[in-house]
């Protein structure tokens, strides 16, 4: 299941790609990254999974490397970066479901995600996590717009 991790943040993404590209010449072991950045699993893995799902890095067997799209992201300006994220979100939950719904309230999409067997947000913190993710990734990348009682896809 390709999904944006509830703990993944835009700033972490740029941090990860920047470090990979400028400090490790595009490729390293994950443990090296952990040591160099003095981060732990909780800090590191959410953004590694998410960046990988977005196609900005390739992570397998303990290695991580930046993809062509990732390099393009680092070298772009803000609008171009937003464009890259926006295009990459379409096939990743919860945005895939959001796209199919068009406009929705938080409760609607929680229900729909349950129907679609996306377990990530099906917990006590889930509503808050989902709201933050929709805002952090969706509104930031201009994929979504905030409406009075929920969100609306503006692609």
């Amino acid at each position: 299941m390709d999904v944006i991790d509830p703990d993944a943040r835009i700033a972490d993404l740029l941090g990860l790609l920047y470090v990979l590209n400028n400090i490790f010449d595009g490729k390293t072991d994950l443990y090296q990254l952990e040591k160099e950045m003095e981060v732990d699993l909780d800090d590191l893995m959410p953004i590694v999974y998410t960046a990988s799902n977005l196609g900005l890095v390739n992570a397998e067997s303990g290695d991580i490397s930046i993809s062509q799209k990732g390099i393009e992201y680092v070298k772009s300006g803000m609008n171009q970066r937003k464009q890259i994220i926006r295009d990459s979100l379409k096939n990743i939950e919860p945005f895939k479901t959001a796209l199919s719904m068009g406009s929705f309230t938080l409760d609607d999409i929680i229900d729909k995600l349950k129907e679609n067997d996306v377990p990530t947000f099906n917990n006590p913190d889930g509503t808050h996590d989902l709201e933050v993710i929709l805002i952090e990734w969706g509104i930031y990348s201009r994929f979504l717009r905030k409406t009075d009682d929920g969100f609306e896809v503006i692609l």
């Binding site: 703990d7 943040r9 006590p124 913190d125 509503t127 808050h128 996590d129 933050v132």
Partner: protein
């Protein structure tokens, strides 16, 4: 039908009086709190005065207040103002203290942001200080509402000598019904009053939810991770907590926090000295007004009368001794029940959901209004069992029902605010019920308990003031005890012996204030030093 309209109007008048005075205290409190964070001098006077007035039951000032309002102002306006004053002094201290604490704990960074933008006084208040104080005000509103309604029966109708003064409201309307024995109207009045109070509590609970969602900072109880603030986790914790806003509100309840934001690296600003002088001057004026009131009262009493008063002092002190025993009894019973019931409700969500609103409504429903009817219903039965102690028992019960709520509410808030880590520790160590209570729950709620105890003592005095001498509680029955300072003051007021009433109040005020300074403040300091549970959990 006409009676019901009259009752409804009377309830509305009373509600408007209480709510209006609460709003007035909130607004005045903002400016006073601002003055006290700007001037150390003003702050010292202000806080001492609040603490004294908070610990001296307002009703004991009432005779003095009456003289001032009725002799100096007079007419319906004087009576109305006297009633307003009594309600005002009942509601104001909690709120002012809450606002002061809020202003005192505004994060310095936020202050710097508004300074950076060059805000003037009103802009600072509007955009920063006032919104920041909303959770604390809200947390203090529940007890203030109860306090405000408590005195309506005695503030809306009172007798001095042969004169009876009254002002329009449910208290005075009910008094007429009782005098004429109109049972149906009495029932309607109690019912409509009940509906109004439940409505107020419901609105207040809704407002609390809103206030918590809107006005609290995520960093009030930050989740730290390796010494860094973990905003992600903190926000998540609060998102979950805010589903039960009263839990969140517990953090803003009135126990005093140490001044965390005292100058850490800044030096006191030398500029704007002029404002400091202005605030200091306001402080001096307030102090002078209080002193003037006291002195002018003392000088207005004739020398011969002083002799009489001083002669009566030993018996007044004995009465006070009896009253202290009564207050102590009420306190012990209230605490015992509050601790067991409060704990039970705090850990049983289902029971809590129904019982807390019920207890809140009951507490806001002024005990003196329904107490006579309890008395009518139970007196023959109780008299059969307790004989000569019947009256004593009723006075203690009135004290209990008028005060129980405060210690209960504080303790319950304290349990709600207990860090979850403590619960886990008690489970981990398999502590039994009493051990858990003694070693963990009571110590960690200590600051809350202390503030609850001081409010309880305070209202217990109010209950005694009303109960120790209650002529014609129904029909020709009177409720009275054999000795007590409150009784003496009551009788002196009723017979027009204002000098004795004032002298009794003064002695009482001084002793209670000294007691509060020596005992309550000491306990408060101890609570802060040793028992701030939130500091016991530290994530490095």
């Amino acid at each position: 039908m006409a009676a019901i309209i009259l009752i409804t109007l009377a309830v509305l008048a009373t509600v408007a009086r209480v709510i209006g005075l609460i709003i007035l205290s909130i607004i005045a409190g903002w400016f006073l709190a601002y003055a006290s964070i700007k001037s150390k001098f003003f702050e010292n006077i202000y806080i001492i005065l609040i603490e004294i007035f908070e610990s001296v039951p307002v009703i004991t000032f009432f005779p003095i207040v009456l003289i001032i309002f009725i002799t100096r102002i007079g007419g319906p306006l004087g009576v109305e103002l006297a009633a307003d004053f009594l309600v005002f002094t009942a509601v104001v201290w909690n709120i002012w203290m809450g606002e002061y604490q809020a202003f005192k704990t505004v994060p310095r960074e936020m202050v710097e942001v508004v300074e950076n933008s060059r805000f003037g006084l009103f802009a600072k208040l509007r955009y920063l200080y006032i919104p920041f104080s909303v959770p604390r005000i809200t947390a203090n509103l529940f007890p203030s509402i109860s306090d405000g309604f408590f005195y309506i029966t005695v503030s809306e109708v009172f007798e001095v000598g042969v004169h009876t003064y009254q002002t329009f409201g449910i208290g005075s309307v009910l008094d007429t019904f009782v005098a004429d024995g109109q049972l149906f109207n009495i029932e309607m009045a109690l019912l409509i009053m009940g509906i109004a109070i439940v409505a107020i509590i419901v609105v207040l609970r809704e407002f609390s939810k809103y206030a918590v969602g809107r006005y609290t900072l995520d960093t009030d109880a930050p989740v730290m991770k390796r010494g860094r603030l973990n905003i992600r986790e903190t926000a998540r914790v609060f998102a979950v907590l805010s589903k039960n806003p009263l839990t969140r509100l517990a953090r803003y309840y009135k126990y005093r926090e140490a001044d965390k934001h005292e100058e850490t690296y800044e030096k006191k600003e030398k500029k704007r000295k002029i404002y400091k002088y202005i605030y200091a001057a306001i402080g001096i004026i307030i102090l002078a007004a209080v002193l003037y009131g006291a002195v002018s009262l003392i000088t207005s009493v004739k020398l011969s009368e002083w002799g009489v008063l001083i002669g009566k002092t030993p018996s007044l002190l004995t009465g006070l001794g009896y009253d202290y025993i009564r207050v102590g009894t009420i306190l012990v019973i209230s605490m015992a029940i509050a601790i067991f019931l409060g704990y039970y409700l705090a850990v049983n969500r289902r029971a809590e959901k129904y019982w807390i609103p019920i207890i809140q409504s009951l507490s806001a429903y002024p005990a003196p209004i329904y107490f006579p009817f309890l008395f009518i219903l139970t007196e023959p039965f109780i008299f059969g069992i307790f004989g000569v102690f019947t009256n004593e028992l009723y006075v203690l019960s009135l004290g209990f029902i008028s005060t129980f709520y405060y210690v209960f509410y504080s303790f319950w808030m304290g349990v709600k605010a207990m860090p979850s880590e403590y619960w886990e520790v008690t489970r981990n160590l398999k502590l039994g019920y009493f051990k858990k209570m003694r070693k963990v729950v009571i110590p960690s709620t200590f600051p809350y308990l202390i503030s609850g105890i001081s409010s309880t003592i305070n209202s217990a005095w109010g209950g005694l003031m009303i109960g120790e001498y209650w002529p014609d509680i129904y029909g020709t029955h009177s409720l009275t005890v054999h000795a007590g300072l409150m009784k003496t003051i009551d009788i002196a007021t009723a017979t027009g012996d204002i000098a004795l009433a004032a002298w009794g109040s003064l002695i009482f005020g001084i002793i209670v204030a000294v007691y509060s300074v020596l005992f309550t403040r000491k306990m408060m300091d101890l609570a802060q030093k040793k028992y701030v549970a939130e500091e016991g959990v530290y994530s490095a």
